[in-house]
């Protein structure tokens, strides 16, 4: 495979990166109402480009390459789109369009106003996030990737505080400062790599790096920095308030898209830049952090009183899920990190999370807009008032649980196969447990919205039909993702959803989730328990609540700045140490 000459389809890569930025610049120039119009012109264009790149990639059957200015690396910069990049490009384009359609209702410029701050900023920043992500996916140079990461941060942070309240400003500032720590660590690693190998081009580096101190240090620093930007436990200091406090259309961008940028970079670094440096113990650490994120994030999510915060904590848990593939991508001997089923599974998980989580935040935002609040205990009657919205939320939840034929299902299946193949049975438990936790908060919300309401539900605002359907389409998309992925993947991976085995798993997962929701929810879940609340809750529920409270305290402790920053450096040190353990000779 030739990675240092432009391929035919490579010509589409530079436009894919620059188109959103050009849209942003034109929007800035025209201003006022035109900002939104420009965005709506550029969204289909970008989507078409992403589809074009996918077609070109399928047709050429190899990585698309484009040398900018005709200069070959190491002096020049190459853009490259391999399978993972193409998948992410396409998914992000789809999700951006979905979010864009949803956001029209929230971020239209009101009549009689020449230009409104929130609308102006939102559409420009959406374009900026999109361009930055495309750059993250296709850039083949570690320094350009640094610039891309910063672009993503500068576009993401203002989205957090578009509402302008003090709480969101504080969340945004925390996000900014912590993300800056992360990016400077990343840059430090890139500098070391240049000092050691004289290039920042990914394939050239992959050929040159040796398992030696300088590469290990660089990998440890860069990984830790990127984890801070991805908000993997225990570095999620900024995530819950930021994602829970932002306007829903912005939360969807942040939660579904922005965190995928730095996550994708970790994947690039481990699988493409330094597969010869990483070791199984260091990958196990990533997996362990992921497992802890799943458990703590899910439990705290179940303890939330507000729907948007629940979804925000579920994002924290799902980020954990994205890191389980790292230990599973090692072969049975535990020596080599392989491009294979586990990586495919991880990518599928990322794509299905992007679509489903966007849908969930949109649905939560619609419920908030219609009711004027999003207190979970007061959601009775919503299912009747907003059936499409609730359907979108539940379908997105089911898709995340991994029911056939959702993308998460296929991802889980691939990861389970990989766990079997490499003999790491313990990850099977985590994978199945994660689904149960997801089922927990779906059940929690479902029970509350389905509850009958004694008085009529008063809606403070009519929700936009278009927004509801945008959420529904994304949720259904996530639910049917496995079918779409069947083209490149073998068909036997998807089984009949009504087969005994699948049905049994689904029922078990749902029952487990129901039990969790029963035990952990803040307000007692069932009407019977509700009437008897306080008097006699039952010993099990007491124990579960005690555990939940303990986890909440732990989460609050971990999210304090000194702790988080110390954890950041400790993790860097731990990665550095584990890269020495079991290093290939």
């Amino acid at each position: 495979m030739e990675l240092w000459t432009s391929t035919h389809g490579g010509a589409l890569l530079a436009p894919a990166v620059l188109l959103p930025f050009v849209g942003m610049l034109l929007g800035l120039l025209l201003g006022g109402r035109q900002v939104q119009r420009v965005a709506f012109v550029f969204m289909p264009l970008g989507l078409a480009l992403a589809v074009g790149i996918t077609v070109a990639w399928l047709r050429e059957g190899q990585t698309l390459v484009y040398l900018l200015g005709g200069w070959a690396p190491p002096l020049g910069i190459a853009l490259r789109a391999d399978g993972p990049a193409v998948a992410m490009l396409l998914a992000v384009a789809g999700v951006v369009c979905g979010i864009g359609i949803y956001a029209r209702a929230d971020f239209g410029t009101p009549l009689g106003v020449k230009e409104s701050r929130a609308a102006f900023s939102y559409w420009l920043l959406l374009m900026a996030v999109w361009g930055a992500l495309n750059l993250v996916f296709v850039s083949g140079d570690l320094f350009t990737l640094y610039v891309a990461l910063e672009l993503l941060t500068f576009a993401g942070v203002p989205l957090v505080c578009l509402a302008g309240s003090g709480e969101t400003l504080r969340a945004a500032l925390r996000y900014m400062l912590f993300a800056l720590c992360g990016s400077v660590l990343y840059l430090l690693g890139a500098v070391l790599l240049y000092g050691g190998y004289g290039t920042l081009d990914i394939p050239l580096l992959a050929d040159a790096v040796q398992p030696e101190p300088i590469a290990r240090t660089a990998l440890a620093l860069m990984t830790a920095g990127l984890l801070a930007k991805t908000a993997l436990f225990p570095l999620h200091i900024w995530l819950p308030p930021a994602h829970g406090g932002a306007p829903a259309a912005a939360s969807a961008v942040l939660s579904a898209l922005v965190i995928k940028g730095s996550w994708f970079l970790v994947v690039r670094l481990w699988f493409d830049v330094m597969p010869g440096v990483v070791t199984l113990p260091s990958a196990q650490l990533l997996g362990v952090l992921g497992a802890m994120a799943i458990v703590i994030g899910s439990v705290v999510a179940l303890r939330q009183e507000r729907l948007k915060l629940l979804v925000a904590y579920s994002t924290m848990a799902q980020i954990g899920y994205l890191f389980l593939m790292f230990p599973l991508a090692f072969d049975a001997t535990g020596n080599t990190l392989m491009h294979g089923a586990a990586l495919t599974g991880g990518l599928l998980q990322a794509v299905s999370h992007a679509t489903a989580k966007a849908a969930m935040f949109m649905a939560a935002g619609l419920i908030y807009a219609a009711l004027g609040h999003d207190r979970i205990a007061d959601l009775a009657g919503v299912a009747r008032a907003l059936p499409v919205t609730v359907l979108a939320f539940v379908l997105a939840g089911i898709a995340l649980m991994g029911v056939v034929p959702s993308g998460a299902y296929l991802a889980k299946k691939l990861l389970l196969d990989a766990a079997d193949g490499s003999g790491q049975w313990w990850w099977t438990i985590v994978l199945q447990g994660g689904a149960v936790f997801t089922a927990g908060y779906v059940v929690l919300v479902l029970v509350n919205v389905l509850r009958r309401r004694s008085a009529a539900l008063i809606l403070v605002k009519r929700v936009s039909r278009r927004s509801e359907f945008a959420a529904l389409v994304l949720a259904v998309g996530s639910l049917l993702l496995a079918l779409a992925a069947l083209g490149p993947l073998p068909g036997h991976l998807v089984s009949n959803p009504l087969a005994h085995k699948e049905l049994a798993t689904t029922v078990l997962v749902l029952m487990g989730g129901a039990l969790l929701a029963l035990g952990l929810s803040r307000a007692p879940l069932l009407a019977v328990a509700r009437s008897a609340a306080g008097a006699n809750e039952g010993r099990l529920r007491h124990a579960a609540v005690a555990i939940g409270t303990a986890f909440e305290h732990a989460d609050r402790l971990v999210r304090r700045w000194p702790f988080a920053s110390i954890a950041l450096l400790t993790l860097a040190a731990a990665f550095g140490g584990l890269l020495l353990v079991g290093a290939p000779k």
Binding site: S6, A11, A14, L18, F21, V22, M24, L25, L26, L28, L29, G31, Y66, L68, G69, G70, W71, L75, G76, I77, E115, S116, R117, A118, F120, S121, L124, L125, A128, L135, F143, T144, V147, A148, E150, L151, F154, A155, V157, P158, C161, G164, L169, L188, L192, G195, G196, G198, T199, E212, P213, I214, T217, P562, S565, I566, L569, T570, A572, A573
Partner: protein, 337 residues
């Protein structure tokens, strides 16, 4: 002799950094940081990076210092509360331990760097002729790695959108910063009349020299932006409305022209951001010329901050720059006793 100078500079730099980080008073810390920035320029000269030294002095030390100084005057009253949240001895001990170990590991890496050192200098030298510029750094920035430079302009624009988005809704379309009243007899007014012509000449000289000698659009843009800020602070002209058409056009012209030239390259030279034979230098000059207004405007506007008043707010009577800008004048008792 020069080794001793380097050693002294290095030690001074470390001492200043430490002082800046541990100082109790935020104003002292920021003042220390400004001095640190100046000293850093000296380090760049010793490291054979005149271009970097100029950028560091202009942006790293100058503009960043101005931003921080502007901020520090407005956060009195939050300092004491923050100090009370100071982490305990245990945390600090941990922090020391971790910072020292990171620094040590880095130092070990530095000491085991490969010999001979990897470098792209020969390749850059070999290909420089094709770009038509004499300064290799300009060659890297605008030919070999032109994408980075384009993205850098985009970064600045996004940062500006981010800063603007922080404005309260009622001031959208208004002007950033306080309105400075003019004091016809003030020294600042005098300075704002005398200095800008010289500054503009120096700025344009740096811009022009950048093709073949150290210098370039960033250093030049910083000086021009500083001149504009000076005129604003003296009250001779007001900060612009952020919704004005010319302002927006000036902000986007650089990156848009850059992309257009890139597309032209794709058409004429067969590669996006490439230059047809013999046309490299004129096209680079076009890009740099288009980037100059963008950089001047964005750097100055980033310094100005979010819109903070409506477009037609009257100047506060008798307000001059220093009273409005930094409520924290030089500590009368001094800090060095």
């Amino acid at each position: 002799m020069t080794a001793i100078v380097s050693l002294v500079v290095a030690l001074l730099l470390l001492w200043l950094a430490l002082w800046t980080v541990v100082a109790r008073d935020a104003f002292v810390a920021v003042a220390g940081f400004v001095v640190y920035g100046l000293l850093l320029s000296l380090v760049w000269v010793r490291l054979a990076g005149i271009d970097v030294a100029l950028t560091e002095a202009a942006i790293g030390g100058g503009l960043t210092g101005a931003l921080l100084l502007g901020a520090v005057g407005r956060l009195r009253g939050t300092e004491a509360a923050a100090w009370s949240e100071r982490s305990g001895a245990c945390t600090r001990a941990f922090a020391v331990l971790l910072s020292v170990s990171v620094a040590t590991v880095l130092a070990l890496c530095v000491l085991t760097l490969p010999e001979p050192p990897p470098t792209l200098a020969p390749q850059a030298a070999e290909n420089l002729a094709a770009t038509g510029v004499g300064n290799p750094i300009t060659g890297v920035l605008l030919a070999f790695r032109a994408l980075d430079t384009l993205l850098e302009a985009v970064v600045l624009v996004i940062a500006l959108i981010g800063v603007w988005s922080l404005a309260p809704d009622r001031f959208w379309g208004g002007r950033p910063g306080p309105r400075y009243g003019a004091d016809p007899d003030g020294i600042l007014t005098y300075l704002a009349r005398v200095l800008p012509p010289i500054g503009i000449v120096v700025g344009l000289y740096l811009f022009w020299a950048g093709a073949d000698h150290p210098g370039g659009k960033f250093q030049s843009a910083t000086i021009l932006a500083a001149m504009w800020m000076l005129v604003q602070m003296a009250g001779l002209s007001d900060a612009p409305r952020i919704d004005s058409r010319w302002l927006r056009a000036g902000i986007v012209v650089g990156p848009l022209v850059f992309v257009a030239v890139g597309v032209l390259g794709a058409w004429q030279a067969g590669a996006f951001l490439g230059y047809p034979d013999g046309w490299a230098k004129p096209m680079i000059v076009v890009i740099e010329l288009a980037l100059l207004p963008t950089l001047v405007l964005v750097l100055a506007l980033l310094l100005n901050g979010a819109p903070a008043r409506s477009a037609d707010s009257p100047p506060a009577p008798g307000e001059t720059s220093l009273s409005a800008r930094s409520t924290r004048p030089m500590p009368a008792g001094g800090t060095r006793q």
